[in-house]
Symmetry: C2
Subunit: 757 residues, 2 copies
């Protein structure tokens, strides 16, 4: 009977759950073409790909519209007219390209080997994409291609025209542009082996943006190939059943017919040949293409249903596609049995069975990881455990980790806020003693871009000794504040004092004359000449992919302190007003700065928190104004849906939070500042079984201003909510209207809590 | 009582054994400086190194006299005056350089980081080397360095002058010349980590001649370092306990004193950090430098005592140093627990606990591996099992395997004769079914340098489709004959016929007009113009590192057939006479061709068997003449002791066999042809417990001609002996004299048996 009761209760919960889920098939709102291409010269591609994958999956099987992809980094540009093939691994939204492993391409007619020969024209009217499914008609070959995937396996269905000889080329030489990168991409070793008349396997070992990657595959075909040929370095090895080299390809021939499509399933592993075979057998033993599509879609629906929303159709498409992009990575690199390759290129087993990588942390610590703490807490713990494995073998945490290896892309050590945020939010499943050791090591062990000795000596990074010094000083100050908070909570008083002291170093770069954070040299003198509009890139100037205007606002750990530096609330908001209205684009604007509203460049991450800063200075209606403008003007549901690189979920996560009405300005504070909710309703399904509901029934269009707020029915005046409030469940209600209510949320005590300073 | 009897018997055997062993300390005859440097412009370095190692050991710890070694490939030239440090891995006798891993260098004074700053002068009068031990006084730093080794561990003892600060730099950036190679040497990732005040560890992952190598190390010091500093890419990371990058170095400081030398033991692994630590703990837990030296020497004496010889002191030095060089590789790459990295860069465990590499097979199949079958049969089986692991992951057997990976250096597939020789000699411990599959795959699966389709189509390799075509056709014909013999013995009739047919393809390149093997194009026409003196190198011409004269003799599988082609015995020996007397050095002589007697270039392998061919044509005294001349003129016990690259034991093995009086012209036939014994006595200790004794009491000096031979007391007229004869034990006696006995061994039935043709 006890069991019976439990059963009934679970059934009731299931009913309750489906009652809460207002969107039964959220995948239907995902448009994988969002972010895949600019529509005019004023817009940008988000560098997303439209192909098939599962949530956080290793295999991301997608068409490549460039022979040697470089930009967009996803390999697909919506404006292109040719497809060179379908490769199994991609990056979503990054600024730098890599991966593109194990390209397959069907074609007909003569056997050809070169991309320029086997590529095909295509048009978007014969192309479809949805979560876990992609299809396209290759016009040149009159062949339909359909793609789906499991975590480690890509499944393709080729419908060749009847009566032709169908060919499938596996081109292991397809990679990012081998000529364009500072560390030239080069294939160190590759192999294709014919196992039997319907199976091939092989690998490539490649150095590129990721310094060293092993990619093993095993490909099984649904019907025997009638012949095969292997090629290395331009020489066909006809007599062979195996070919080794650096430019390795295979062509397999099939008796084609429209009625009997050729299916191929390709298992991948970053560890071993055996791993690829096991992954294939474990995840996709059969040949049911449609069931695999359904499974992939079900997997997406399971993850996407963590938040149910109501709003316009366009809003839902942007929202769920954003969630889809946020859940496209980090990717589980481990084999099905937990085996993975460490930063020291040694194979080990992950205790939790997963090893995630693709950590674009300079981007994702801001909102993507805070979002994961809410709706993917178990995975966020697994992400952190994966990062800790880098610490164990590498000595410090990831900065920008790709395929399990460090790339040192961008600045700061922003695994730190991710870990401290998880600690403060009590995410289970993490060894926090080790985690503290890791964030501490990342903050004291000198490494490229982190000469901490300079910080101890000068109390800022002098530009003549460490470039990008303003951005680095500011961002490291934030990381230091995070370390200090965890040290304090753990009773490590010495560390707390040391890191709180370093966290204040941002003040040493504040130039009271120009009222900007400004580079200084080791002699203490300001870097001159100075123009707050002048851009820096990724070295050679004090600012990273931005200018002094954009970096003026980066003190998320101590906004009250920043307000004081800038002369008090009124001066602060005046300067913010200028920031959001100053129309000036210098000739040297950095390529990553885009999506401008005044000097605010929402297309790049330094500006992401800035519109929320009015909340701290008594003018929350301006936060509401600018966040609404950004959502309404700089996001859409077309291929140009993002104002810049989507950046592995960060650009999407900004929207996901902001559309619900709040955003983590300080992503390690457990505090979310209110903006302008755009959705009429959002229900967050919490890991604790509860629900947090946000209602804004009048939201949308011109109703961008908060008139009043109620939390669980009671009037609420604060301009922020805490993580604890959300986890407690309940309902947050926004009354929205077309004009600001300058009385709401404007008292000093309504502003987000000050820092520990 | 039974036990007692056994004991007595064993004791008797031991006595017997020591009675037979005429050389109690053969290591005392080894001079590791032989082969380390030319003495004038007419001589060559053998490219050997003088440092410390154990037989077939992984660690070969030796001084590098070049900052970026390239030529000599061993990193050490006897003519140099500076030492840049002591690195742990080396190649012995090769033409191409690689390895030089984990360089350590002690120095005093200011902390410096660059090779040009820490290098030291040295002189040979303050330098010593013997098996397992090397020492030198670094004049610049007045510091004595002593080296010894176990299989996976290098142990160094630094005696700094008293009262100075002693430094030890670990320079992970030290490598082969990064600018000189077709596949530029590049460090992909490297790390040094300070574990505690007397331990550091780290690794480097490097691409060079070997396409990808991982080298992990763990270094423990006998006393704490008082400070340490880490450097990456020119930046000192003072605050760090770990440093990652590509140009990684560490400097450790010690309070030095003459009375308390600093010892450092460095464990290496090609697999993992854990492997390096385990190897260190397993093999060298303590700090007894002298005992480690004694152990290494004992290990060498154990191996070197497989043959006891009597002769002049110089002969013994050449002989035992040759045996030392023959036992310097192949090297056991596996960790102490049997873990190794396969050609697909996947870690696996070797069933027999060892994984050997450095297979310079184009050289060593000729005499080194036949020597191993006699005196290292268990290891030869382990070598073959290691080669079979390449077949399993790579699809075919090694051509030139370095650090477990294929380099495709040189031509042919000469793992085949090694395996077939072992099969014919019944070496235990090999899965011969798999071995046959492997040699067959290596003979049919097309791979670089092996376009077998051309052979099937044209019955020779056409030069306009595959360069080095004459050498390749001839050498593959020999490999094919080997495959056929094993196929025949296994009852594989089809294969036997196919490969015997291919083995005859050498005839298709014989040009009856010029009486040379000559290149042909696909249209059947001879490659013109033709001059038999014109050299080829490693591509672009029909001959490999030689000319038509040198390749005229390469039909070891069918010397009778070659004699017929050349017009019968008399024409054959006339042409051989011309070959050994023709003084003509064209301007294009290949750099590997050296050690000339006429056109015979003993400094390179194509000529190694040639002087023995007179045995087949009724003029064995000319074999005696020229082999004696080669031994007496082209080998010595100085740094220029070899007439060319020592080539991983092949040049030495030629001497070892020849000095005992016989040589395997066809290295897969179990037949050894008689030459001119130079040693007064040689006793081969056989794996079956028996002894085979060769006596030539009058040998040496002018007594180069065989007067008579007795086998086990009976007159013996054949000009060869079989492997079976040797394994049966017994005594072979040569009566030597200063003039030829043209009656001995000259009847047709005295010549080595004809082939199966």
């Amino acid at each position: 009977m006890v069991r019976g009761i439990v059963r009934i209760t679970l059934a009731s919960l299931a009913l309750l759950s489906s009652a809460h889920a207002q969107t039964a098939d959220p995948a239907s709102f995902v448009n994988p073409f969002i972010g895949t291409g600019a529509v005019d010269t004023n817009s940008l591609s988000g560098s997303n790909f439209p192909g098939a994958c599962t949530p956080f999956g290793f295999v991301q099987l997608s068409p490549d519209t460039r022979e040697s992809p470089s930009d967009p980094a996803s390999g697909y540009d919506y404006n292109d007219h040719s497809i060179f093939g379908f490769s199994h691994t991609h990056l979503s939204g990054t600024g730098v390209a890599d991966l593109f492993d194990i390209l397959c391409m069907p074609y007909t007619g003569e056997v050809v080997w070169e991309p320029g020969q086997y590529k095909s024209d295509f048009t978007h009217d014969a192309e479809k994409a949805s979560p876990g499914y992609y299809s396209v008609l290759l016009k040149t070959w009159n062949t339909k291609v359909e793609l789906t995937a499991t975590t480690h396996v890509g499944l393709q269905r080729y419908t060749f025209p009847t009566g032709t000889r169908g060919h499938v080329i596996i081109d292991l030489d397809h990679s990012l542009d081998k000529k364009r990168f500072y560390w030239p991409c080069r294939i160190i070793s590759a192999q294709v082996r014919v196992v039997n008349d319907h199976t091939i396997e092989g690998y490539r070992i490649i150095t590129g943006w990721s310094r060293l990657r092993k990619v093993f595959f095993r490909a099984e075909f649904s019907q025997p190939f009638v012949s095969d040929a292997l090629l290395e370095g331009g020489k066909v090895m006809e007599a062979g059943t195996v070919v080794n080299g650096t430019r390795v390809k295979a062509v397999l021939d099939f008796n084609a017919s429209k009625d009997q499509p050729v299916l191929v399933k390709v298992g991948l592993s970053s560890v071993s040949r055996e791993g690829a075979e096991r992954n294939l057998e474990t995840e996709l033993p059969g040949w049911d293409f449609d069931a695999t599509v359904a499974d992939a879609r079900a997997a997406w629906n399971k993850e996407l249903s963590c938040i149910s929303v109501d709003g316009t159709e366009e809003q839902k498409r942007i929202f769920y596609t954003g969630l889809y992009h946020a859940f496209t990575q980090p990717n589980n690199l481990a084999d099905a049995d937990g085996a993975y390759v460490g930063t020291d290129f040694t194979t080990r087993k992950a205790a939790d069975g997963t090893h995630y990588s693709t950590f674009s942390l300079w981007d994702t610590y801001r909102a993507a990881h805070p979002l994961y703490t809410l709706v993917q807490p178990e995975r966020d713990a697994a992400f952190i455990n994966s990062m800790l494995r880098q610490y164990e073998t590498y000595g410090y945490l990831p900065i920008w980790q790709l395929w399990g290896d460090e790339t040192y892309c961008m600045i700061g050590n922003h695994a730190i806020p991710v870990i401290v945020d998880a600690y403060m939010k009590h995410l289970p499943g993490i060894d926090y003693a080790k985690a503290y050791a890791a964030i501490r090591a990342s903050s004291v062990v000198e490494h490229p871009g982190a000469p901490f000795r300079l910080l101890d000596q000068y109390h800022f990074f002098p530009e003549n000794k460490q470039s990008q010094s303003v951005s680095l000083t500011l961002e490291v100050a934030f990381d230091d504040w995070c370390v200090a908070q965890m040290a304090n909570a753990m009773g490590k008083t010495e560390d707390y004092k040391y890191f709180m002291d370093r966290a204040g170093s941002y003040r040493n770069l504040y130039d009271a004359d120009t009222r900007f954070f400004r580079g200084r040299n080791a002699d203490g003198n300001w870097v001159s000449p100075f123009d707050p509009l002048t851009y820096g890139g990724n070295g050679g100037a004090p600012y990273t992919e931005g200018n002094a205007w954009q970096y003026c606002w980066y003190v998320p750990q101590d906004v009250p302190g920043l307000i004081r530096l800038l002369g008090g609330a009124s001066s602060f908001t005046d300067k913010l007003d200028t920031f959001f209205t100053l129309q000036a684009k210098p000739a040297d604007v950095n390529g990553n700065a885009s999506g401008f509203i005044g000097q605010d460049a929402h297309g790049n991450e330094p500006s992401h928190h800035t519109p929320y800063l009015y909340d701290y200075a008594g003018q929350p209606w301006k936060t509401q104004l600018y966040t609404a403008r950004i959502m309404q003007e700089l996001y859409n549901d077309k291929s140009s849906g993002y104002a810049g690189n989507e950046d592995c979920g960060q650009m999407s996560s900004w929207y996901i939070f902001s559309a619900m009405g709040f955003y983590p300005v300080n992503p390690a504070s457990s505090v979310y500042c209110f903006g302008s909710p755009q959705l009429r309703k959002a229900v967050i399904r919490l890991a604790n079984g509860g629900r947090f509901t946000v209602l804004a029934p009048k939201a949308g269009g011109k109703n961008i201003y908060i008139q009043a707020v109620r939390l669980n029915g009671s009037p609420y005046h604060k301009t922020y909510i805490t993580h604890k409030d959300i986890l407690s469940g309940g309902t947050l209600e926004f009354d929205m209207g077309p004009a600001p209510n300058k009385k709401w949320g404007t008292a000093p005590e309504d502003a987000p809590a000050g820092s520990a300073y």
